[in-house]
Symmetry: C2
Subunit: 283 residues, 2 copies
């Protein structure tokens, strides 16, 4: 069992990881060596103390070098579910389960807001996890919205099962080219259905589907972790970055504005200290 | 009238200054180009994202270069008093008054805690400001506790007025050598008196004085600004770094633990944004 499961490799996650390492905690860090699409794509950052007039790409390099120098490992898995267990947390990455005494959520802010019907039909035709639920749609018709090129392998996996995939990519340079995958360039407006999701509504048409996959790098926090207090799409935390759930902390854009590197880095540091303190107090 | 008076040049102050500049605010920044004794004296900082394994001295250099590159001025004055005026703040630096719509306090945490009697006798024999109150002690006997070499000129000023100065320096390499200044290497335990401060108590003796000067770079926040809410010596702020007083924000070590660069930098950023938002809302 890990002391801490740290989720997310944006600025807050990097800061939390460096501090957890400095505090000698046993932690697992889920994310990607590309760190975050937000960091990589930033043009010029002027007000981050210590790195004047740096581009996002350069900041990513600097952060990554520091992570490597401190011998911190990034586990390149997508967290698809989080569960409160008996005094600790279960972290599900597709079908693989990890356990930790505390979690720190640095999941960023969703660039893609949930569409009407999405949250309503989660578990009833709407899924965030290809590996978990793909087999339910063998030889069926599904729609897949995908926010990141890094998740293309999940589209391929779904296409290997489903009879037909309507793909709505929210990124550039789509490299999927499969017979049963048809690309729709428009964003769906709504998911409708009765007992379960049945169709996807666009501005000019509707598509009948058996299921809808929303492949995102950051799942809506309240969907990811049942019972987590959120407001306006942000995780509600106090000054110590503690959420309403014991042993669960959050840092960075996912806790609200300002969406700034300095703020994220500060909260990552605070969350790491708070988790360490919680662990020291025997939970 | 300035938009913002920013007080303190530690990591929180630097972060707030960079962000206020980026936000194009009209601000005055009180502090010193040595930034803070805490930054300068830190050995190795491992967990500040972007500056791996940096010494305090190097961090100071990097911060200062960024401040200069962004053409931000540091006003090298010691703030000796802060006053709530009609919807804005008065900032007193010895006898010079500045005005600002908002203030951001980045005053650090006191390395020297108030001793018993100190707060009780403020204005009745205990003073934090040589230039303000020195003339009251012409030809008298005073005690001076001083926490920083940078304030030695104030000791010299006091010695030019008083008949006798008992000096308790809390720093190394004291360069004061004056006939009427006698150095005590011990820290006083208590200030006692009746209507006003009358004597200083040490472990093995007592000294009769007419007044006591406590020359510190960071004045106890609640003494500096009347009505400011504090707890355990820290300024009480909410998640937006707002204090209980309208238009007054605080960031960094002065708001509490963890005493970390990343945390200070994060709060400096938040406080700058909060002040800007307050100004935008027409106060």
């Amino acid at each position: 069992m890990y002391d801490v499961a740290l989720i997310g490799t944006g600025a807050a996650g990097v800061s939390a990881a460096l501090t957890l390492k400095a505090l000698n905690k046993n932690f697992i860090w889920f994310g990607s060596r590309s760190l975050s699409s937000k960091i990589s794509s930033a043009e010029k950052i002027r007000n981050y103390p210590g790195l004047p007039f740096i581009s996002g790409g350069e900041m990513r390099e600097v952060f990554l070098r520091q992570v490597d120098e401190m011998d911190i490992e990034i586990t390149p898995k997508n967290v698809t579910g989080l569960y409160q267990m008996d005094g600790h947390y279960g972290i599900l990455c597709n079908k693989e389960m990890f356990e930790a005494k505390t979690v720190i959520l640095c999941t960023g802010v969703e660039s893609v807001k949930p569409i009407p019907g999405e949250l309503e039909f989660v578990g009833r035709g709407v899924s965030y996890c290809a590996t978990c639920d793909g087999f339910l749609y063998k030889n069926k018709t599904i729609a897949v919205e995908c926010t990141s090129k890094e998740l293309e392998h999940e589209i391929e996996y779904l296409a290997s099962l489903a009879a037909k995939v309507w793909l709505m990519p929210m990124y550039k340079d789509v490299e999927i080219s499969l017979e049963n995958v048809e690309i729709i360039k428009e964003k769906p407006l709504e998911i409708r259905g009765g007992q379960k999701a049945e169709k996807l509504v666009f501005s000019d048409r509707e598509i009948e589907v058996d299921g809808v996959f929303m492949l995102k790098q950051a799942i809506t926090p309240s969907v990811l972790l049942n019972g987590l207090d959120t407001a306006d799409g942000h995780i509600v935390v106090d000054r110590s970055c503690a959420s309403n759930l014991k042993g669960c902390y959050a840092a960075g854009d996912c806790t609200g504005r300002p969406y700034q590197y300095a703020k994220a880095v500060g909260e990552g540091n605070i969350a790491a200290h708070s988790a360490a303190e919680y662990l020291a107090n025997g939970k």
